[in-house]
Symmetry: C2
Subunit: 539 residues, 2 copies
Amino acid sequence: MMQVPLSIGSMMEHAEKFFPKKEVISQTHDKLHRLNYAEIGQRTRRLMSILDELGIRNGDRVGTLAWNHHRHLEIYFAAPGMGAILHTINIRLSPEDIIYIINHAEDKILFIDEDILPLIEHIHTHLTTVEAFVVMTDKTELPESTIQPLYSYEELLSTGDPTYEFANDIDENQPAGMCYTSATTGKPKGVVYSHRAIVLHSFALGLKDTAAISESDVSMPVVPQFHVNAWGTPFACTWFGSTQVMPGPRFTPKRLAEFIERFKVTITAGVPTIWLGLLKELQQGDYDTSSLRAVLCGGSAAPLGLIKAFEEKLNIPFYHAYGATETTPLATISRLKSYQQGLSTEEKYEERTRQGILVPGLQMKVVDEKGEVEWNGKDMGELLLRGPWIASEYYKDERTKDAFIDGWFHTGDVVTVDAEGTIKIVDRTKDLIKSGGEWISSVEIENAIMANEAVFEASVVAIPDEKWQERPIACVVLHEGFENKVTKDDIIEFLKPQFAKFWLPDDVLFFEEIPKSSVGKFLKRELREQVKARYSTQG
Amino acid sequence: MMQVPLSIGSMMEHAEKFFPKKEVISQTHDKLHRLNYAEIGQRTRRLMSILDELGIRNGDRVGTLAWNHHRHLEIYFAAPGMGAILHTINIRLSPEDIIYIINHAEDKILFIDEDILPLIEHIHTHLTTVEAFVVMTDKTELPESTIQPLYSYEELLSTGDPTYEFANDIDENQPAGMCYTSATTGKPKGVVYSHRAIVLHSFALGLKDTAAISESDVSMPVVPQFHVNAWGTPFACTWFGSTQVMPGPRFTPKRLAEFIERFKVTITAGVPTIWLGLLKELQQGDYDTSSLRAVLCGGSAAPLGLIKAFEEKLNIPFYHAYGATETTPLATISRLKSYQQGLSTEEKYEERTRQGILVPGLQMKVVDEKGEVEWNGKDMGELLLRGPWIASEYYKDERTKDAFIDGWFHTGDVVTVDAEGTIKIVDRTKDLIKSGGEWISSVEIENAIMANEAVFEASVVAIPDEKWQERPIACVVLHEGFENKVTKDDIIEFLKPQFAKFWLPDDVLFFEEIPKSSVGKFLKRELREQVKARYSTQG
């Protein structure tokens, strides 16, 4: 067989040739853009020629600080397309972390959205490797800035070469992209994606039994492009010729709802927090969401109530997926098997709260201290993953040795697996609660509490206990209108029929908000501090 | 990212773990077998241990002479799964060609269906490399035979090790399979498939916009397993957990129709000749074919009448695909793009007679003597293909240099491409007819003739002409009941409104049968001889 490398450039070439009329609809600060793949392809080529002129060479890092829009998409293909590395930077991190990441990755050029420029204005003197800054704006004049040299994206593109060729000497194992993930302790950790990983992952996203991304889709990634490449959807959607709708900077649930109706979005992807917000908006407003064939939910476990609300109240199919920055990210997805269609509605929902089966192309193991656990739906163990789109290390980081052991990525997620191979995340290894020598899953209690109609969000953390070692405490945010009407006892009574007695939280604390990470996950470390603070105030 | 090779063994492991209950339903000579993937996986492991015991090592060729059934499927995974090479042999070839192929491939062991054993009985003394013969039968006693050593498949398996592991040191570029394709002149030519090619091709078969093979499918490959791995469907279907229905030896259209109804087949694949036969059966009988979501048709161009009959009379979606032994084989597939749904019925059919757009992962060029032709739907050129599941050579064969040039496979197929990137096969380079300096497409005339309700099949060949260089002659097989009722003039009159005058055949000859190759393609070389013979008899 021919030795033809899997390359990101060839995905854009495919879109240019076979889907030239299909569109990317992109909201920027000032306006809505509509460009087809013939145009996006040409602009990508212009951008490659500009990167070349600005001295970007094979393996150089090209940083982005940007929302979801077409220019960001162009950089997705231009940087790896000419042999450089796309480095998407999480704009929600602290300035200190952003400085660390840019210097650690040794970014040579930064592409910055105009509303993020003030942040860079503050920190740019700390950046040790960046040689050029490009601001992405619809305005013809550059904003005033002390940053030097500062270019305008569109001005650069206007002088670019629309016939510039994608590099034809790509080694499929060479780095194509990188992304840093927050760590429980210490600075963010970098993951490097190869061309091979991204192409294979895109294949996986197009499979009928996973996301089934296709030409007929209108895809709106809500998950940020700076977070694991918006779960890889911009790559797959471009390759397969989907229409893409980019919701742009600082979108609101209202804008998402409007875009779904206006552009007949068929598939969208994001974390539970986003869907909780969208759900509210869709229930308050009068939107036509009949085009939606799939809402993909990942990042953290979706509570049953959220799944039910989407499916029953809104008639929108809702799919649980699982992955991590280290897994490009798609690793499992929940779809009923054909012979499970006969299950009762409740049994089906029970299945749907699980994270599903492994995506073809990967391997998994679930282990506890004694070795592989039985696939009986009960025994808990840490999920280990292996495969061509699973990271093998953290970029220049000593913490590699803690997570990548004997060829397996240790996810830190505790799961059960049933006889169908379906996994269910029961906790993070570090968030499991050990009470009287037994494990308690904080996530299972959280999900149970969130099934209560009064509850908007719930998070369960451990506090130290002299007798039992650790005990669970539930932290609950109530829906509007339920404040002061629901008590600790109401919650405990609600949980009693569902759990062994020792699983029931010792206390229920009510909060206005649960602290979350920049990607919408519960920040349990911070929550534990807040819980401690409450008790010490009370004490 | 991890360096994990793409391997065929891991596809079976995936089925064992995630689809253990899903079934392979297999018709053999004596009975219908139903085995699930847990069982098929164990039997595959037993077989690997037996191959190991019989001295088969990494890179050794394992030949099969067999129909479509579960034992053949087990060899599909066992041979490459333990590092050997699956060599499927076309049982419809001449004994001379079969001897050539087995000796040329240097097969070390042969797996033979019991009804094919007499053929091998005749030729086995000419086989220079085969050290062991295994007969696949449901009977407990081996048939009488002079072949030595001759083993029984089931007896061997009963002593095999069901826990034998798939080889973990596979290089994804190492050979996994091979298949010989008939040549216009000379002996068949061998194509070697790598693990990488077969895994990537399987991904391609699972894409929503190609064959969309999924867990919910019941797949019945009619294309033989000895022909380009039944178009790769057994690999993809196993990986994705589809139910597989193997129609077994010497199936009839009646058996196919019965199996479709009985096992609720959702997808099937084969050549136009098969579908012409099935169409007849379905129209005569009373079958429930409502489960069928896709009939994939390849090998040669399907006439419009066939597509219409399936879609309009039987309400069965019919998809044109294109490929070759050298392309693993899927290269293009015809599906309407979302924005083509608004076309008129006739325009849609016009699109559906085309072979569609390129499958993601491949590259194509269409060239004539002046270079790349315009994608305008008119200019003809030879289709060139490139990609990770396109062959780079014929196995130990000097004819490599004629077809594999500068990194591109020259398909020998003449196509047009429209602005959508949709190709239409207009002829084989060698079957194009050159008349008065202009090209005439024999395939277009054939398809037009086959749209006549009286016509069962038609093939158009060139005869030498003093004035015009070449002129087309139509060879026609009429449907039952139309014999002697349709004349040359009827056919010519029927064609007149559709073609330029110089395209009209000089003569129409009626035949009882068009000679076909072992895979159901028109044998134009032989047909030309028959036409010549008719004229010389007349003369």
